[in-house]
Symmetry: C2
Subunit: 309 residues, 2 copies
């Protein structure tokens, strides 16, 4: 059940001022901060900016096979019919595939990659599980973008995620460049929660994953968040990893270029931050959007081993 | 009346292959080619690419007063109520103001700027008039883009423009940069007409100016057009002028950045290319979208003088 007092009220009938973040950004205690792939400088940057772009995190050949898998999915009618497969607002082209780690042993194994796990644990200061996984495709010439939003706002309102102790890791399967709709982030925005206006419609996810209408911060809030430090685009070749706090404001433009843009997103949540009842929605979202059942602690290694354990 | 045979068939019930351009790109005869602001190299590039970006064409102070005018329009309820004022698909923010030269003596005078007139005449090889004028605004954080299209395709289908003898001049009133939805063009695409599929709905302009649904080339056509030479973004500071052939494929992304993007567009048509009955629509569009009455030859100088003449 939700707490009596909700520190992060949202989906409100009227405007509400910004709420300062309550939780730390790096949850590991001082001794554990050093246990992990990020050095002191990277941790300090993540703490200050709410994100970190790590070019060359994966070798191009490591991600090639994932690109091949995805190319196969595009022409698979069963994939198109799955509830977790979201098409573009104005065509049948695949926009997102949710629950990709539950779909394929290969993607599941990638979520258990020890480099990604160590990174998540170093930031969240605990064991972790996958709250959500998705593939975001932006086909060449007409892939649609995503408006400015905080993921945590939705996870809190619609999934009942209690605290800011969740991190998103994006793995670029293609080049991300200025003209193909790269992820853009607002440095420092993770320090503030911007309550949004408007009640969550029933089964909101059926339309919000194509184009989000509620849970979108007011224009004045986005302007305030960007006033001092503007906006940064996460550019980089295939294999680039972008780590960002669940509350960092982000967006991306349409892709009108000839270069398709494909990124994987794995959302790691602390096992101490498991979902409750939604804070501002009439019922929980499906398992493929927000893990409630599948919350076992992630261990490195192939999916097979984990299934046996 | 339309000709018995339409060289540029479009809005068809089914796919039709590309049609090579029939008209020259530079219409001036060899002697007249030299009369105008563009040198031989610029003319050759325009001929090859279908566009030309001229940074610093206007001094920043020359365009400052236009920016002030527009800032005033934004808060003018009469301006919002005009039929030529188009708002964003998902808000009341002004997206376009059509017929801007008929609205203000200052904008009218700008269309008669001798540098712009000489440039248009040099390319079109005749006297010219303004077929259409518009302001395209893209507000910060949420200004929507424009999908890939050829303007000539619409002008031919919906306005009855017979031939490719029309040039668009865009005057940047703000910076155009990678992240604020700059005009993007496909070099060489002006040499081919791509017939589109789908009948023109009645009063199509009432929705098409917010988001175009018919008159959009097939994805395969855009892919073919960009195969050899890709896509170019027209970047530049305020005062940059981009000249492009009416048939050059162009698009622009959403503006999610903190920097608003505002461009003026003047479309100059040859007086020998005046409108006929629409080739693929049930009736003509309003005068503020396509000049049928106001087709007097443009002469340089202030609007007042022209009104007396």
């Amino acid at each position: 059940m939700p707490e009596a007092f909700d520190h992060y009220p949202t989906r409100l009938p009227e405007r509400h001022g910004p709420v300062p973040r309550r939780e730390p950004v790096i949850h590991a205690d001082p001794a554990d901060r050093r246990r992990g792939p990020l050095d002191a400088d990277q941790l300090a940057r993540f703490e200050r900016d709410g994100f970190l772009v790590l070019e060359g995190f994966f070798q191009p050949r490591e991600i090639e096979r994932f690109r091949d898998d995805l190319a196969a999915y595009e022409h698979d009618p069963e994939m198109l019919a799955r509830p977790g497969t979201i098409t573009e607002p104005d065509s049948d082209a695949i926009r997102s595939i949710f629950g990709i780690h539950a779909l394929s042993a290969r993607f599941d194994t990638l979520t258990r990659d020890s480099r990604l796990l160590d990174l998540s644990r170093q930031i969240l200061g605990s064991d972790v599980y996958v709250h959500q996984s998705r593939l975001n495709r932006k086909p060449a010439f007409r892939g649609r973008g995503f408006d400015w939003h905080s993921d945590f706002e939705t996870w809190h309102a619609e999934d009942g995620m209690p605290a800011m102790r969740c991190v998103s890791i994006s793995v670029s399967l293609s080049e991300n460049r200025d003209d193909n709709g790269p992820l853009m982030l607002v440095p420092g925005s993770h320090e503030t929660f911007y309550p949004t206006v408007g009640e969550t419609p029933k089964r909101n996810w059926e339309t919000s994953l194509k184009r989000q209408k509620v849970g979108v911060p007011a224009l004045a809030d986005i302007a305030a968040a960007t006033r001092n430090r503007g906006v940064v685009a996460a550019r980089g070749g295939p294999g680039t990893v972008t780590v960002f706090d669940g509350n960092t404001l982000h967006a991306s433009s349409d892709n009108l270029s000839p270069a398709p843009r494909t990124n994987l997103f794995f959302v790691y949540n602390s096992i101490d931050n498991r979902l409750r009842a939604p804070y501002a929605a009439s019922g929980p979202r499906p398992e493929w959007l927000a893990s409630r059942e599948r919350v076992a602690v992630l261990e490195p290694g192939p999916a097979q081993r984990s299934a046996v354990a």
